[in-house]
Symmetry: C2
Subunit: 434 residues, 2 copies
Amino acid sequence: MTEQRTLRVALLGAGSVGSQVARLLQEHADDFAERSGARLELAGILVRDPDAPRDVPLPRELLTTDAESLILGADIVIELMGGIEPARTHVLAALRSGADVVTGNKALLATHGAEIFELADQVGASVSYEAAVAAAIPIIRPLRDSLAGDRIVRIFGIVNGSTNFILDSMDRQGLSAEEAQRIATELGYLEADPTLDLEGYDAAQKAAILASLAFHTSVEIDDVYREGISDVTADMIEDARRAGSVIKLLAVCERIADAEGEAISVRVYPALISREHPLASVHGGNNAVFVEAEAAGPLMFYGAGAGGVQTASAVLGDVVSAARRHIAGGVGVGETPRQSLPTARIGRITTRYQITLEVADLPGVLATVAGILSEEQVSVATAMQTVENAGDATARLVIGTHQATEQALSDTVTRLAESSVVTRVASVLRVEGE
Amino acid sequence: MTEQRTLRVALLGAGSVGSQVARLLQEHADDFAERSGARLELAGILVRDPDAPRDVPLPRELLTTDAESLILGADIVIELMGGIEPARTHVLAALRSGADVVTGNKALLATHGAEIFELADQVGASVSYEAAVAAAIPIIRPLRDSLAGDRIVRIFGIVNGSTNFILDSMDRQGLSAEEAQRIATELGYLEADPTLDLEGYDAAQKAAILASLAFHTSVEIDDVYREGISDVTADMIEDARRAGSVIKLLAVCERIADAEGEAISVRVYPALISREHPLASVHGGNNAVFVEAEAAGPLMFYGAGAGGVQTASAVLGDVVSAARRHIAGGVGVGETPRQSLPTARIGRITTRYQITLEVADLPGVLATVAGILSEEQVSVATAMQTVENAGDATARLVIGTHQATEQALSDTVTRLAESSVVTRVASVLRVEGE
């Protein structure tokens, strides 16, 4: 028995995701009415210029530049503008007016999440954001609802499709970083300013959102340790390939407990992963996220990490839930952080390094290098020396360490770089997924 | 602000999952109170014999054999007894008394799902069953909520851990079917009566539940076409391995549209999958489910497909949601089927076959075989003939077909079996995942 009430939906933004949301809401209006228990009436679409040309045709009469009226009259506000302002102002206004909010805005949540969730809690409205992390892949709802009876220990995965496309093209087609970036730009994987993706900011925003939710703690973008992929060269990828590994840009969120107490660590960096690991076969622009919970064990969620229509699927799933909630009444799921775990500085984290050195091809070099590691309390798991160039008597030494703190590992790298037997530190990569 | 209301939870059954649910509810009582917005008080545990020895110690005072009183006094009833009766009677009684129900009982839902969901709708209670399909892997909630704004086209995957363990052991360790089954029994993957798993009944129950939810149609176990793994031999696995494939027991649920109209197909059978496909690397007792939706594209969900504590995680996620709902008020998510798509008979489905024949090693054999396929309108994609045993002049012919209807394919196999040039039909397997 569906009650044919009508809910007014305001759409803010008509870009690649917003235009697909508008199209699907109108094309499948009857389906949405059945699933939501209410007709979802698209009340208006906020755009900068109603007369601008559009890829997906939108009804001219729905386009408006009057945000205030549109938001005030809406039961559900879908924010797909991106960026901090005016998105933040609009979302807060929507919540104050009693509307439920659905957003795909990772930058906004990773910087003003606490403010937004607190207001939502106060007014008893909901904020849903499945589309903010991994496009169509359901990850927010499983973390929030499915695993609500479990304790999440670790999340790690590939949450940025652009950099995965680039690293995957370098690995599978032997492209240089520049070539791979050029193709990624041509195919629309990279924005005009690719820094957000390449330097790991996009992945760091997503990691902050995931960690906040998983650990019931407010994590913002500045709490995330971040390295991008701009130092990853074709040589490093080729070395990894020969050793049975791939390089992936990983987001890692984990609980830690050490002498300093309980904390969380949230970080983004390129890391080596064995080719046997399921994340190694995440190709192109796809995303995949591992979630490890105490009782559930490891779970993986995989799918398209970008795309207008794919992301629209996540937005619309949230819209249907918001509509059901709006009709049923009742409060939203509170997201106000209940724990306030500190974020650990990177030096406190335990990881493994793979350090590739160019060294003089002389007797005693390995002993010197091993001595430095030993003094820094870093154990060697594997060491492989190959003569690179017999002519100038240099060799290559690849050291895989056992687990050690980042502090000890980075101190070790600093000392190795200063050592007289080391010509050059060719690369330093963390090893994950073991 | 958590309102410290108390909700009474009745647990029916204290087997491997139930005892973990009881333990976790008590050990993490404060966590559950915070997450649910109410203290969850374990009011009692229904058991057959309160004095029976137990692996997980349970408070003797909570154990009861009085189902009626326990259920009547509960806000949330967790049914983990398994089997049809008395589970069905208890679940219906719980709903009638206004309790929300959480169940992991796939047999019950696959046979009496319609009755249960209809009653829940009538009384405005919820029935949650994340644990019924893939243990800890969140699949029900993503289908019901995350993809509520999308249209699911196809679900396929590995939903039975026992048979996956057996097939994987045969593939990776070269075991015979008997050896693999013996080890699976020793490790607790197989029940005393292994028929439910081996003959695909367990997978078929899960497929019925998934299809009902995905296609908003009531699908019961009898609507599911089913073949188990008892005909899969070590030779077939070895042949697959050499050809770069693996054999997996797959559950497939899909929408079809043909001259007869729209319908759904729900089926379970062993099938060949390329080793490149993500499902090929699902090892041991793990499960993985692909969901293809119109907008979202393909998504995959992966994790442990069995285990007491893993399944308890899914149960407790449902319990927390039920508790939130119970406090917030509002109606449950209606699961009454809104569409009534017919289930297509197997002959109507389009698949691909790989047919392995033992044939006489004589000129003209391939022509005869190809002629039969052609007369049945089945196109040959690949054909490979190898002389098996030069002594008795027999050869082996492996035919991979293009897509054709099951009717045409099975008619073809019947005619091939009757042909004078064919000594024996060694194996027939469907090919999936391409």
